[in-house]
Amino acid sequence: MDKTQNNKAWFLVLPVLVVVAFSAILPLMTVVNYSVNDTFGNNDFFWVGLEWFEEMVTSDRLHEALGRQILFSAIILAIEVPLGIYIALNMPKSGAWASLCLVLMALPLLIPFNVVGTIWQIFGRVDIGLLGHYLAELGIDYNYTNDPLDAWITVVVMDVWHWTSLIALLCYAGLQSIPNAYYQAARVDQASRWAVFRYIELPKMQGVLLIAVLLRFMDSFMIYTEPFVVTGGGPGNSTTFLSIDLVKMAVGQFDLGPAAAFSIMYFLVILLVSWVFYTVMTNLDKEEGR
């Protein structure tokens, strides 16, 4: 034997294992435990198998929340991605204006989520909010507390306000990495503005755009704080997204078993969608390289 077995190496990995166990695996196992048991407190658990999962899979309530969630993510991606690209394309490339733009763009990203919610909650109020008040002055019947459509518009606009900057900044970084010679060559080749975007800017932004879309998808799919602060999931259940529903179920109704089953499925859905998304995008990239 020329290789000596040295099991000491395992000790060096141990700290990481411990940290990961406490931060991820143990909490997750707690949830798994709740999802297959019924409990009435006092740490009394009764084995129920996959009952909660079956209940959740067939639950209309969950289906509706999932539908709303998908719709919400789709809408904000459809608005934020093109808008972010458009803003990035129109930001000054250098000089004092560029710095100012960067700071202004970064501001919404630096505000804590619940503060964003509070800002819009007050901003949109008909009695004291700037937006709500002037919309009423203009004769527009806007009230996010009792009109589902108004609630949706408010929540979507808030998310666009909060997160478009992220996409814009990422795209801006991608654009900055394009050497000037590309634009010069395009001018020499008489390329149209659209062709410059399609053949120079978009391919160079593809990488960052992939990250941006993935981040925004995951974040929007898990959104909780902002809509909770603004609408509390209402009116009715119209803005109750998956996270809000989950919290209602777990903390509001103390249905810990169903909530745990829900959590696990929720986690798997996000994992699955992100994985599919990532695989498809990276494969596209590889095929193009061929």
Binding site: Q184, A185, R187, Q190, A191
Partner: protein
């Protein structure tokens, strides 16, 4: 196609240039003949690329006019100038195939499909990329990409001029020679005005009918390779062209005589006493070592480069090189150096002074 005229042209990258040194391109007047093959030669930072970008319209000059034929295009956009330009580093449209890349400038100008197909085929054959026409440009090597850039530069037949900005920097030596030959052939076939920027004298001398030597933002000489070699107009040309460059020795000149370090030597022409810092210049090819006649010479070393030998030494503390034929014995008895009188140039403040009859 058109003759390109530069009138009082100057450019500074500063908004408010004050001194002359603020200008990247000093004031110049030049005419580029229609159909000429020009090389723009100079060391890095001498303003070659600036001049090229002004001609192609990528840069607006601070002052002066640019004329294509009789038409003033100073304010015209690049797209309106109908110019092709190839850049130092490969610029390809990654997501397009090689074929689409080559066809792109033609498509943007609305040429018909049959013509584009034929023309792209022709260019692909020229750059040797027929086999890879349907591949995406993204995965190709740097020199394949640069060949695409070159192809895209040459694909249009009706351009006013084709500008090359050190296009062969990233290409390997064997391919360099081949592509240069092809460019030359293309020039002969289609007669486009070509301006080729380079800092490599071999490249410039082999490519161009006329070489334009730039130094410190100024065109110091525009001439045939032979003119640059035989009668450099500026000490920089003498030094930059030729290997090794021209020897320069401080001297005082009176009539057809020059005094160098206390020794009098004969000149091929007669000069009125020049003003400023006076130097005489002699190419290493026209200097010979002797065992008595001429200036005292201290031999330092001999380099054998194959077809001849370069003898390095000094005269009165100044480095002087001599090119000696292969086989000439070099020994300790060679203590002096003499110059062919009619090959000696006289320079005042670095500019050549023309002499009269002896």
């Amino acid at each position: 196609m058109a003759q390109i005229t530069l009138k009082n042209l100057a450019h500074s990258y500063m908004a408010q240039p004050k001194a002359e040194s603020d200008y990247a391109l000093k004031e110049m007047d030049h005419v580029w003949q229609n159909g000429g093959a020009y090389a723009l030669l100079g060391s890095s930072g001498c303003g070659k690329t600036t001049l090229l970008n002004i001609i192609s319209g990528l840069l607006r000059p601070s002052q002066g006019r640019v004329l294509f034929g009789d038409q003033d295009v100073t304010e015209a956009e690049t797209t309106a100038r109908n110019i092709a330009q190839v850049f130092q580093f490969p610029v390809v449209y990654d997501t397009m195939t090689v074929r689409e890349n080559l066809a792109f400038p033609l498509r943007n100008r609305g040429m018909d499909a049959a013509y584009i197909k034929a023309r792209v085929g022709q260019i692909a054959a020229m750059i040797g990329m027929e086999a890879t026409l349907d591949r995406k440009a993204r995965g190709l090597t740097a020199d394949a990409k640069q060949k695409i850039s070159l192809g895209r530069g040459m694909v249009r037949e009706d351009v006013n001029a084709i500008l090359f900005d050190e296009p062969l920097t990233v290409i390997d030596p064997h391919m360099k020679w081949e592509l240069r030959t092809q460019l030359k052939q293309l020039h002969r076939e289609f007669g486009h005005t070509m301006i080729y920027v380079t800092h490599d004298q071999t490249e410039a001398l082999t490519f161009a009918d006329k070489v334009v030597v730039m130094y410190d933002g100024r065109v110091v000489q525009m001439g045939t390779p032979e003119e640059l070699f035989e009668t450099p107009a500026h000490t920089f040309v003498g030094y930059f062209i030729g290997s090794p460059g021209m020897n320069l020795l401080p001297a005082t000149v009176q009539g057809n005589r020059a005094m160098v370090a206390g020794t009098e030597i004969a000149l091929g022409a007669s000069y009125a006493p020049p003003k400023g810092r006076v130097q005489i210049g002699i190419r290493p090819e026209y200097a010979t070592l002797t065992n008595g006649a001429g200036l005292p010479f201290t031999l330092r070393r001999v380099e054998d480069v194959g077809r001849h030998r370069i003898i390095r030494g000094d005269v009165a503390g100044q480095t002087v090189n001599v090119i000696a034929p292969e086989g000439m014995p070099v020994g300790a008895e060679l203590t002096h150096i003499s110059f062919a009188p009619d090959r000696i140039g006289v320079y005042a403040d670095d500019w050549r002074v023309t002499g009269g009859a002896v």
